[in-house]
């Protein structure tokens, strides 16, 4: 589906070096790592916003082979924050159809927007303006916009940032549901280790621009967390799930 091969990127100093991983259809991958470890930069490289060294292959085509429009049909990216403003929710979700548009939206575009709205239960919000929405509602709208792109790959940057527990859980369930039902590969950065462990198929731990560990929830070990974040934690396993508690 998507493969990242030997990807390196530097602004003035190297941010990412030699990153390799793959994501399969329907797989949910969480990228974990401390602030400044290069998580967001990695997403931006994959999304084609930054131009890295190395290769990103999407269905066996490199990013350079794809036009911006074609890329946008295969891959959707939800940055950590967006500006709000006077656009309505409907308008924003319709923007997801932008890569498919010639001069303007077609009836098919409107149909897909309505489909996405009902999938995410956004009917009541559809004609509210962005600047009237709460944080959780805004995040859902941005995900809805990404879904309207009908992507094969969905990149999310801190989708649960600034949300309360209810909204965090709701968003992560939604992401998982989308991945499984529509066979979309989801690659998301994340801060909350517990939440990541609950909803991930696979976890990548990043340290100083390199993949430190990757695999199932078993990589969330005491040693790895100490090495990556530099803190001591208790890792408690119960019913096949892990709970990570800051140690003392």
């Amino acid at each position: 589906m998507i493969a990242v091969e030997n990807l390196s990127f530097s602004y003035k100093e190297p941010v990412l070096s030699g990153v390799n991983f793959e994501a399969k259809e329907g797989e949910v991958i969480f990228i974990l790592g401390p602030n400044g470890s290069g998580k967001t930069t990695l997403l931006r490289c994959i999304a084609g916003i930054l131009k890295p060294k190395g290769a990103v292959l999407i269905e066996n085509q490199t990013l350079n082979d794809l036009s911006k429009k074609d890329l946008a049909k295969k891959l959707a990216y939800v940055p950590q924050r967006s500006d709000t403003g006077f656009l309505t929710v409907f308008d924003v979700i319709l923007l997801g159809r932008k890569p498919y548009m010639g001069f303007g939206p077609t009836n098919e575009d409107y149909r897909i927007v309505e489909e996405v709205i009902s999938l995410l239960n956004l009917e009541k919000l559809a004609f509210r303006r962005l600047n009237e929405l709460s944080g959780g509602e805004l995040q859902k709208v941005m995900i809805a916009r990404a879904l309207a792109q009908k992507p094969r790959i969905l990149l999310l940057d801190e989708p649960t940032n600034n949300l309360d527990v209810k909204n965090q859980v709701e968003i992560l369930r939604l992401i998982r549901k989308i991945a499984k039902e529509s066979n979309v590969s989801v690659i998301s950065t994340m801060h909350d280790l517990n939440l990541a462990s609950l909803y991930a198929d696979r976890i990548l731990m990043i340290k100083n621009g390199k993949i430190f560990a990757s695999g199932g929830i078993e990589v969330l070990s005491r040693e790895n967390i100490k090495a990556v974040y530099g803190v001591d934690v208790e890792v408690v396993r119960m019913n096949g799930k892990v709970v990570i508690l800051p140690g003392d």
Binding site: K68, A72, P79, G85, T88, D91, V92, K98, A126, F127
Partner: protein, 338 residues
């Protein structure tokens, strides 16, 4: 869904009806009193009052109002600055400076004088220099927005500074210019819709048609840009390109208007914001609605200016400033655009 599309539909009908009504009303009023019947019969025959004086003025107001409003709407989006407009960014003043420069130093647009050979007038020289002048402002704005992440207010302060520089430069030229030239330069400092003829109107119309077609073509890109550059890029939009083209075209349109009618302030600010607040911030509607509303606004202001103290004409720029400055201050105080 129903409510929203009803609001759009209502706005469309109200705006277009108001424009048509203002058009008819302004045709019927003026220093030379004509009854509606006379207006109609003069329209069918050609009477100089309507065809040479009133109608050119009205059509100019409509086109210039529409142009400034759409330029403002686009600038507000591409600079992510709700206070942006040709006037507040110093682009109009730059254009006026360019036009004044062409007239005083290159003798464009006038003056065969006694005893001197007749200069061949190049009608495009003044608009061309107006465009060059506006580009000075544009390049400063672009540079500032690249170098530093300026707040919208700071950007407008930069615009104020630019406007003062251009005004000082224009005054300096006036100070050393001959009286007759000064008179023709002073005219740029406040807009006047009464000096265009049909061929100039045709030029404004062409510029307007080209630019609005482009802006409408780009309307979804503008919507994408309101979210964030990253989002726009992930949707296949090239923000740099859209921004540069939009800024150049809106400056070009402004320069054309300024070179034929002088500086008219605040239409580019008031029209898009009124639509954004009352109808929609979606550029699919914002562009056409602001255009129509801006046209109506300037037409009404100009008609007011030529009737309220008739037969003395008040330049329309003075009236728009009286209406626009309070709106500008309101927007500053409101500050809820983030």
């Amino acid at each position: 869904m129903m409510e929203y599309s009803r609001r759009i539909r209502t706005a469309e009908i109200v705006l277009v009806t108001t424009l048509i009504f203002s058009f008819i009303a302004s045709l019927c009023v003026g220093s030379y009193s004509l009854t509606p019947q006379e207006v109609l019969s003069s329209l069918l025959n050609d009477s100089p009052i309507l065809w040479n004086i009133r109608l050119p003025r009205i059509v100019t107001s409509i086109l210039v109002g529409a142009s400034l409003a759409v330029s403002g709407a686009v600038m507000q989006c591409i600079l992510r600055n709700p206070l942006a407009s040709p006037f507040t960014l110093g682009i109009s003043q730059g254009a006026a400076f360019g036009a004044a420069f062409a007239i005083i130093f290159l003798g464009a647009g006038l003056l065969h004088r006694t005893g001197e050979s007749i200069t061949i007038l190049n009608p495009y020289l003044v608009p061309f220099f107006a465009f060059l002048g506006s580009l000075i402002s544009v390049s400063v704005i672009l540079t500032l927005s690249k170098i530093r992440d300026l707040s919208p207010e700071a950007m407008i302060l930069a615009g104020v500074a630019m406007a003062s520089v251009f005004q000082a430069a224009t005054m300096l030229m006036q100070y050393f210019a001959e009286d007759v030239m000064v008179a023709s330069v002073v005219f740029w400092t406040f807009g006047d819709m009464g000096r265009t003829n049909w061929s100039e109107i045709y030029i404004i119309f062409l510029a307007f048609a080209v630019c609005i077609a482009y802006f409408i073509f780009r309307r979804m890109d503008y919507n994408a840009l309101t979210l964030s550059d990253e989002t726009a890029m992930s949707l296949g939009v090239n923000p740099q390109r859209v921004r540069l083209e939009g800024l150049l075209l809106s400056s070009f349109l402004t320069a054309i208007c300024v070179s034929f009618t002088g500086i008219v302030g605040f239409v580019g600010l008031v029209a898009p914001h009124s639509i954004r607040i009352s109808v929609s911030g979606d550029y699919r509607y914002l562009i056409p609605f602001s255009t129509v509303f801006g046209a109506t606004l300037l037409l009404v202001a100009d008609t007011f200016g030529r009737t309220v103290l008739s037969p003395v004409l008040i330049p329309v720029g003075i009236i728009t400033a009286f209406v626009g400055a309070p709106v500008f201050i309101y927007l500053l105080l409101r500050g809820s655009w983030r």
